[in-house]
Homo-oligomer: 212 residues x 2
DNA sequence: ACATTTGATGTACAAACGTATACTTATCGT
DNA sequence: ACGATAAGTATACGTTTGTACATCAAATGT
């Protein structure tokens, strides 16, 4: 019997695995990564102590799985949005829609932001992230840079290297994420999108209108 | 004898205090906040085990002091730059110079960025930060918003609410900080400043030239 | 129907944690 | 010069940590 099939046993096993992952995420969001201990996770997941070592060789292996779930959700959403627009839309529309995905649910949720920034903050997790997602992150960045180049050629903006500008836009998204995390009651996702759109309009005035 | 005087004893005491703070900062930068244990800190600072409890009531009190040192350095630099330019410069120059401070040493150093993001990532430290620096951070934000309003009136840009745009610029700075932290060998401070300047030029084309 | 295998449980344990406390050292005021 | 006192040291202690391991329960294949 190949793994991942829908036997009653393996189904419950995967359910428990999911419970552990989700318990870890909510725990990080509410109490921080220092609260992620084996005891607290299994307590929140409603399973027994030893179960965590049945599913994951170490605690860190579980955390990497958490990291995977966030990165893959973001990567897949970005890719799909890009591919859906790239054929039958203008580069301007594709760029806007693709980046707006990162500023909307289910990507931009305070709970998930909290987890992202825990990984950013730790050198070990940063290294793991870099090693695991180097290629796909680079791919996304170059995709954005390609769209910027298209807009530059159409509008003759002379923004310098497109890759630097792509990094700046990515940095802006990251910064807006952080703002939602650190000041959740002074800003919100709508404001984040408004701000992003405004900057995009400033950079590419011939492609975006200030009113919309 | 009032505290903080230059007696031989209190001088050495303050020196040890500084050693502990700096050891903590470098420890966070190199191994993450989870490596900040009493043993590791005193080992790195080259002092004895119990000294940390002589200087700080708890470990968290020491961390707050670390937080203070970073925030005050940044706040003072921003204030001074603003005040130095505000009287005898254009709003455009004041805005550029004031924000560039945050993208240059000694503010923008990888070591310090690592510490900033550790505080951002933890809910408890976020709360402490919010409570301690709410006013001065708001002051800085409104200062930026004021400059943006001045530029808007001069240039008739129609960027919407200045406070939202100010938050966006702050978010951009934060994002560029993060980029330096997560991809130190793919980008650098010069690129960060170039990117920021480019976006500022895009937003206020009548005030900034694309070439400089 | 039943032996087997797999998922789940609970306990055990060494290591590391933060801090309180008893003890030393050396500077300070007189 | 010398007790007083502040700074620094070293040890000890109760918790909590992650993981290993022996045990148990039940769905599975024949």
């Amino acid at each position: 019997m190949p793994p991942g099939t829908e036997s009653l046993r393996s189904l419950r096993k995967q359910d428990n695995r999911r419970k552990l992952i989700e318990a870890t995420i909510s725990l990080i969001a509410e109490e921080g990564i220092s609260a992620v201990t084996v005891s607290r996770v299994v307590e929140r997941a409603g399973v027994s102590r030893g179960l965590i070592n049945l599913h994951f060789e170490t605690k860190e292996a579980m955390m990497i799985e958490v990291m995977d779930s966030l990165n893959h959700e973001w990567r897949d959403s970005s890719r799909e949005t890009y591919q859906a627009h790239d054929s039958n839309s203008t580069p301007a529309q594709t760029l806007l829609e693709t980046m707006m995905i990162s500023l909307s649910p289910p990507i931009m949720e305070p709970t998930k932001m909290a987890v992202w920034y825990c990984f950013y903050a730790d050198p070990w997790y940063r290294k793991v992230y870099e090693e695991r997602y180097f290629e796909t992150d680079q791919e996304t960045l170059e995709m954005i840079a390609g769209l910027i180049e298209a807009l530059d050629q159409e509008g003759g903006y002379r923004h310098g290297e497109a890759l630097i500008m792509a990094r700046a836009l990515r940095a802006l998204v990251n910064g807006l994420w952080l703002e939602l995390l650190t000041e959740p009651d002074k800003t919100n996702m709508d404001e984040a999108r408004t701000a992003f759109k405004a900057i995009l309009t400033g950079l590419f005035p011939k492609h975006y209108s200030a009113t919309a």
